[in-house]
């Protein structure tokens, strides 16, 4: 069966129709979990794990707010190994290279995995075809939708929680491993059958909390939930690469010419070096023209904290803190507001934050001539990430811009066909590269507005041909016919299939 983008998907699944198809659907909500009478406190994870009576085939969930510094998932993984539990469905919101799940996959203790983003050894194991069941990849908003609708039913949620009070309320703002907001876990908290907060810091009272004790079944004190230093992964500094800076300058100029930068506007960028350079260039325009934006959202980095401090934005809406400066700001600044993944990007929320965005700056591994974007696999078919908030923000924002070099290590950005579609091209408005800018032809309004600009506007086919002249045409690597997983669009339909490598 093929979906509307011509992608073959598995039988019995709902095929992707369009980015707006969800508007005709009703929100489905299962009841929130019954509030527990008492919270039970444990001082070791193994006793709690035994009391939970976890059985073969259950679904266990986790969040990734401690990112590369998380130790809770690994502690639970050790217990799964020790108690020889089989055929589990694991649903962490993301999987980082430090998460040790490969042995459990090879032993068939983990049969299925549902997540929003993964890379490293687990991604390699799955792309190599070693997962017995299926990998299902959500967007951040789509995961919240899946949980609240019962599509992703969670038996036990193990939630790393940097500080917990005597009642069982939990916060990410305090404790030795404070990681800031806990937005990805709010749906798990409200809808999982059992909720276990795993903490290394018990306090008498919390001044504010994100996890209400009424949803909590157990609190487990462990020596350490991880290392908050590990939440900074990848670049969170402005790039110094001249090509990245040129792309950033041109992007800021494009945004200015399109009249987006005005009082009350809102934006989101990623945490990469070029994204932050775009934020910096836009920030300078705002300062010069005395403009104050309504909010920035994300994935918040120290850079946006600085912009808030300078008064360039009135508020920050934050699902996850990308560095310790953001954690500190969240703890101390009331204008730095925690939001859940659902409030952020669930299409069925009344007014998700992404829908209020004027501008989002996104990355891409590959883009095709219809502007479909791949951030899930590379040109060899290796799994390198996933949507995260990509498809959510691209749909919600009035202007969605991809920034990228025209090639990365000779591999072209623009291809006649992408390996995997993560975000539909109908939601991508422009691609900015160091050699030129392509505007989606379905945005005639933008093309009209850019008439007479000094920016180098080119057709996407011209940009592809230009790179072919500079770097050659890569050999086509045929896909295998063995599916290892599926990419689910934010509305619950299947947008593409992920195939086994090699």
């Amino acid at each position: 069966m093929n979906n509307s983008l011509g992608r073959e998907i598995f039988a019995n699944s709902r095929p992707f129709v369009s980015a707006n198809a969800f508007l005709k659907e009703k929100r489905r909500l299962i009841p929130e979990k019954p509030t527990s009478a008492t919270v039970r406190f444990y001082d070791d994870l193994e006793t709690a794990f035994r009391d939970l009576a976890i059985k073969d085939g259950m679904t266990l969930s986790f969040h990734h707010h401690l990112r590369s510094g998380d130790n809770v998932l690994n502690m639970v993984a050790s217990l799964i190994a020790k108690y020889a539990i089989k055929d589990l469905h694991l649903a962490p919101s993301s999987i980082f290279p430090e998460y040790k799940l490969s042995d459990l996959i090879l032993n068939h203790q983990i049969r299925n995995i549902t997540t929003n983003y993964l890379n490293g050894p687990v991604a390699k194991t799955i792309a190599g075809g070693q997962l017995q069941g299926t990998l299902l990849m959500h967007t951040h908003g789509g995961r919240a939708r899946a949980i609240e609708s019962g599509d992703l039913a969670i038996d036990v949620a193990f939630l790393a929680c940097p500080a917990v009070d005597r009642q069982g309320n939990g916060s990410g703002a305090f404790g030795i491993n404070a990681c800031g907001t806990l937005g990805y876990a709010e749906s798990d908290l409200k809808y999982a059958k059992k909720v276990v907060l795993v903490t290394d810091t018990l306090v008498d009272e919390l001044s504010m909390w994100q996890f209400d004790h009424k949803y909590v079944d157990m609190v487990v004190k462990v020596p350490s939930i991880g290392d908050a230093g590990g939440i900074v992964s990848g670049t969170t500094r402005i790039t110094r690469d001249p090509i990245g800076l040129k792309i950033a300058q041109d992007t800021a100029e494009l945004v200015r010419e399109l009249g987006v930068i005005k009082n009350g506007f809102s934006m989101q960028t990623g945490a990469g070096g070029t994204s932050l350079a775009v934020a910096d260039a836009i920030g300078k325009i705002m300062q010069t023209q005395n403009i104050t934006g309504a909010f920035a959202s994300g994935g918040i980095t120290g850079y946006f904290v600085e912009m808030l401090g300078k008064g360039l934005f009135q508020k920050l809406y934050d699902v996850q803190c990308f560095d310790l400066a953001a954690v500190e700001s969240f703890r101390t600044n009331p204008a730095h507001i925690a939001i859940s993944a659902s409030k952020y990007g669930n299409p069925f929320e009344t007014s998700p934050v992404v829908d209020d965005l004027d501008l989002v700056i996104l990355g891409a591994a590959e883009v095709d001539l219809s502007f479909n974007v791949n951030v899930t696999t590379d040109s060899f078919g290796n799994i390198i990430g996933g949507s995260g908030g990509h498809a959510d923000t691209a749909h919600g924002a009035k202007l969605a811009i991809i920034t990228s070099t025209l090639a990365k290590a000779r591999i072209p950005l623009i291809k006649s066909e992408v390996r995997t579609i993560t975000t539909p091209g109908s939601d991508i408005d422009a691609i900015v590269t160091e050699r030129g800018i392509a505007i989606n032809p379905n945005r005639g309004d933008l093309l009209e507005r850019l008439k007479g600009t000094s920016l180098k506007i080119m057709r996407i086919e011209e940009l592809m041909d230009l790179q072919h002249r500079l770097g050659g045409i890569p050999k086509e690597l045929p896909k295998t016919n063995a599916a290892v997983g599926y990419v689910e669009y934010r509305d619950g339909t299947i947008i593409d299939t992920i195939y086994r490598t090699g």
């Binding site: 040109s379 060899f380 090639a407 990365k408 290590a409 000779r410 591999i411 500079l470 770097g471 050659g472 890569p474 050999k475 690597l477």
Partner: protein, 85 residues
């Protein structure tokens, strides 16, 4: 034995090592080998032909360099090899 080295292991660059040899040996290690092997080999062969060199050992550790980079690194490596006493 004379040897010449040019380039780096940075992304988009190539480290070229050439050694005197009685026959032609081209040894390509590239992160984009699956996509561009034939094109990389062609650049090496064409460049050697222009320089009039028939026998040499060329080892490429390629990080996705474009043709002109490969060509420039190869020419420099050979000049360095030939400049050795």
């Amino acid at each position: 034995m004379k040897i010449g080295i040019a380039g780096s292991l940075e992304s988009n660059d190539v480290l070229v090592t050439v050694r005197e040899c009685e026959k032609l040996v081209i040894d390509i290690h590239s992160i984009v080998d699956l996509l561009f092997h034939d094109q990389i080999e062609k650049v090496v062969r064409d460049t050697l032909q222009e320089l009039g060199i028939e026998n040499v050992e060329v080892r490429l550790q390629d990080k996705g360099a474009l043709d002109y980079t490969i060509r420039a690194r190869l020419i420099t490596a050979i000049q360095r090899m030939e400049a050795q006493p």
